[in-house]
């Protein structure tokens, strides 16, 4: 009798167990995200709150947008420069367009390929980095020279001109090339060399820029190291500034700053991509303030979330400064140039 009741008890136990297991298995199958469509991505602990980071203290914003935005007319704008007379040069698609604010005229230099950078030198000469080589034009848009290619791997993304030569940032080869005015290579700057303390450029994406400072040194962004480095024109590494941080005074992401320009007073303007920020640093590299953050630069406000991978890989906004200290920002998403002037101190 006891054995019979034991057997019955076992059968009930097994029946309940099987029922529970069946329910658990069915729930597991139903909840199984076979196609990865229910994924919520990485856990919060692995993510920065971009929305939060995009908010900038209004007291830190020292500039305001002024004047009419310049519509470049490009579908893919890339680079920006301002000449000594105030003309604005924008490189995009397969051309460089010159917007003269004095008489509202627009002229164009047609190119064989897409330009990655543009700069204006003395006598109004325009230097354009086209893929892997430099082309030189006069003010009348006539080509004066086409310098030798730097090789198939080269990708010119930054250019600066002075009386000492033309300096080109080659993101493909992660190096800065110094040319003389005739287009001959004078120096290769920034190749990693532990003996001379040159750290080498880390360029994970096609964002690599430089600027010639008033102190006679070359400032080159080292985006992978999240800092700006100073070199003599002969390529000696002097010092670096910038810290890796998501806070407003640092540089964050994989590779920032993306672009740099020099202010008339000796400070610098940097542009970051991803979390788009245009910021001011003094000549020592100390954070001063913000020109514009995501809430000012992006129409929707808040952080810009990339919808397509190719957007994330695109170049960042470019920046230039005129003699009056006005800051020009090329919005490579809307393909417009925004002009920022310093806020009046109350």
């Amino acid at each position: 009798m006891n054995r019979l009741s034991d057997q019955t008890g076992l059968k009930i136990f097994v029946g309940v167990l099987i029922a529970l297991a069946a329910v658990a298995a069915v729930i597991s199958i139903v909840r199984l995200d076979t196609f990865g469509e229910k994924s919520e991505g990485l856990g919060k602990k692995l993510l920065d709150d971009i929305k939060e980071l995009s908010k900038i203290d209004p007291n830190l914003i020292l500039y305001e947008e002024s004047g009419k935005r310049i519509n470049t007319g490009f579908t893919q704008s890339r680079a920006l420069a301002v000449d000594s007379k105030g003309a604005i040069l924008v490189a995009g698609d397969r051309a460089v367009r010159i917007f003269d604010p004095n008489d509202d005229t627009i002229s164009q230099i047609s190119l064989s390929d897409q330009a990655g950078c543009v700069a204006v030198g003395s006598h109004g000469r325009i230097y354009v980095g086209v893929e892997n080589h430099v082309e030189v034009y006069n003010a009348d848009a006539q080509r004066l020279a086409r310098w030798n290619s730097l090789g198939n791997d080269a990708l010119l993304t930054g250019i600066a001109v002075s009386n000492d030569g033309i300096f080109v940032a080659d993101a493909g080869n992660r190096i800065v090339i110094r040319y003389d005015v005739s287009g001959q290579i004078v120096k290769r700057i920034g190749q990693r060399n532990p003996e001379t303390n040159v750290p080498g450029f880390v360029v994970p994406s096609a964002s690599f820029d430089l600027a010639l400072s008033n102190d006679g040194l070359l400032r080159v962004v080292n985006p992978g190291r999240l800092r700006v480095e100073a070199y003599t024109l002969d390529g000696d590494f002097e010092f670096a500034w910038g810290k890796a941080s998501a806070s407003v005074d640092g540089f964050c992401g994989c590779c920032n700053p993306a672009n740099i320009a020099v202010l008339p007073g000796g400070g610098f303007v940097t542009v970051e991509k991803g979390l788009v920020r245009v910021k001011i640093y003094d000549s020592e590299g100390t954070f001063v303030g913000v020109v514009a953050g995501p809430e000012q630069l992006l129409e929707e406000g808040g952080a810009y979330i990339h919808e397509f991978p190719e957007q994330a890989q695109g170049v960042g906004f470019d920046v230039a400064v005129d003699a009056d200290g006005r800051i020009f920002v090329l919005d490579t998403i809307k393909n417009v140039v925004r002009i920022y002037t310093k806020k009046e101190v109350e």
Binding site: L10, L32, F35, V202, R225, F308, P309, E310
Partner: protein, 431 residues
């Protein structure tokens, strides 16, 4: 009791592994500081072909040994040892892949897709157990299949499943096989591999839901002998039919049956058939009429199930990535869902037109209509034949192992008193 304790300990250890498997993967941040030098990109060497042939050789050797142990040596202990070795080699060492169960899909896909070629080793993995079954019965299930072994290992307190219930549940295996063939033939998915409940245990890693499903099978397997093998295994469906034709097969004892019923008690798989006398004439006449009715019913069942299968095209075709993508894009375009998925983003980046995608998806969906008719019809045939089978009376004078259901585990001859006597006699004769 002690065995139960060990099993519970093992279950606890496996559960702990599940917890570690569900932990989020972390990766180190990119190292841009210091003297880090980016390593040069290297291409991993392909898996040497020789290992695949070694696997085939091991499979052939294991099947040969299993045949010898079940038919000649008749030792449950030896079969169990071989089963454990197979679990270690094919399960934990080779991580459950390649396996004959999943190879069904490779074979099916190669039949329907001329661009897909099955490696010879995969074909051998599929064929070898079938050939051995034709000659020696289900020796693959007995001692070579790692999925069977892991379930056999946890079986501690078997309870019998009523015959009618077991027969009904076996339809799930046919349904699973049908769906696996459908999705493999249409290039949609390898269903058997995707829902392998034990592979996560073999790899000590996997989706937490699949680990739970595997754990459920093992929990049920504590009391119900090999639930996956008996009620779900699609390869088992094929082996069952071939085993009916096998030239040699396991017998409870080659000696005279004394009808002690110990074998029936010992078999946890309900594979022992009782002796049966002739039917009374009245019952016989009723059964004849019933079978005649069922035979007439079979075409109706085929047509009904085939029709049902074709109607399911909207559901079944979702397993195909193109159809799924087209549906997603449609929902996004109609504004019925928010956001985008990785596949829809990737599709939009290709520049292909949405209409082109819809056209392709429509063609694929039509294939599911045809396949639904064929495979639904097959399910109807199976149901009809099964109904017929339960109505057929077979006369038996002794307890016998069911030709299809017996997996040659050797438990019955361990318990058979006549087998003990026979083996003792053999020993005496040898000595």
């Amino acid at each position: 009791m002690r065995r139960l304790f060990y099993i519970l300990i093992a279950t606890a250890v496996l559960s702990a592994l599940c917890v570690s498997a569900s932990a989020e993967m972390r990766f180190p941040p990119p190292e841009f500081e210091g003297d880090y030098v980016m390593p040069t990109t290297t291409t991993p060497h392909p898996h040497p072909d020789i290992y695949e042939y070694v696997d085939v050789a091991v499979l052939a050797a294991a099947l040969s040994l299993a045949s010898y142990l079940t038919l000649k040596l008749r030792s449950r202990r030896a079969i169990f040892v071989l089963m454990m070795l197979s679990l270690i080699y094919f399960g934990y060492w080779r991580k459950g892949c390649v396996c004959p169960i999943g190879a069904i899909q490779n074979i099916i896909l190669s039949i329907f897709d001329s661009t897909y070629t099955v490696p010879i080793t995969v074909s051998l993995f599929f064929l070898l157990p079938l050939v051995f079954t034709l000659f020696f019965g289900r020796v693959f299930c007995a001692a070579v299949c790692p999925l069977g072994a892991i379930q056999d290992m946890v079986l501690v307190r078997p309870v019998s499943v009523p015959y009618w219930l077991a027969a009904g549940l076996r339809l799930l295996a046919y349904l699973y096989l049908t769906l696996a063939v459908l999705f493999a033939a249409t290039g949609s998915a390898f269903l058997i591999c995707r829902y392998d409940p034990f592979v996560a245990f073999f790899r000590l890693s996997g989706n937490v839901n699949m680990l739970i499903i595997g754990l459920c099978f093992l929990l049920v397997g504590l009391f119900v002998g090999r639930p996956y093998c008996r009620f779900f295994c699609p390869y088992g469906v094929i082996l069952r039919q071939l085993s009916r034709l096998s030239k040699w097969r396991v017998t409870i004892t080659p000696d005279e049956c004394i009808q002690c019923r110990l074998c029936e008690e010992a078999c946890p798989f309900g594979a022992i058939r009782r002796p049966a006398v002739e039917w009374p004439a009245v019952e016989y006449a009723k059964a004849r009429r019933r079978i005649a009715f069922l035979i007439l019913l079979i075409p109706v069942l085929i047509a009904l199930c085939g029709w049902g299968g074709s109607l399911l095209k909207n559901v079944t075709s979702r397993m195909h990535p193109t159809v799924r993508l087209a549906e997603r894009i449609y929902l996004e375009e109609a504004g019925e869902v928010e956001g985008v998925t990785d596949p829809s983003t990737a599709f939009r980046a290709t520049g292909r037109t949405i209409e082109d995608l819809y056209d392709e998806a429509s063609v694929i969906r039509e294939k599911f209509v045809t396949a639904g008719w064929v495979l639904g019809g097959f399910m109807g045939l199976v149901i009809g034949l099964k109904l017929g089978a339960v109505s057929v009376w077979r006369k038996r004078t002794d307890y016998e192992a069911d030709r299809a259901g017996c997996i040659a585990c050797g438990r019955c001859f361990k318990y058979c008193p006549r087998e003990h006597v026979r083996l003792e006699k053999n020993k005496q004769e040898i000595s």
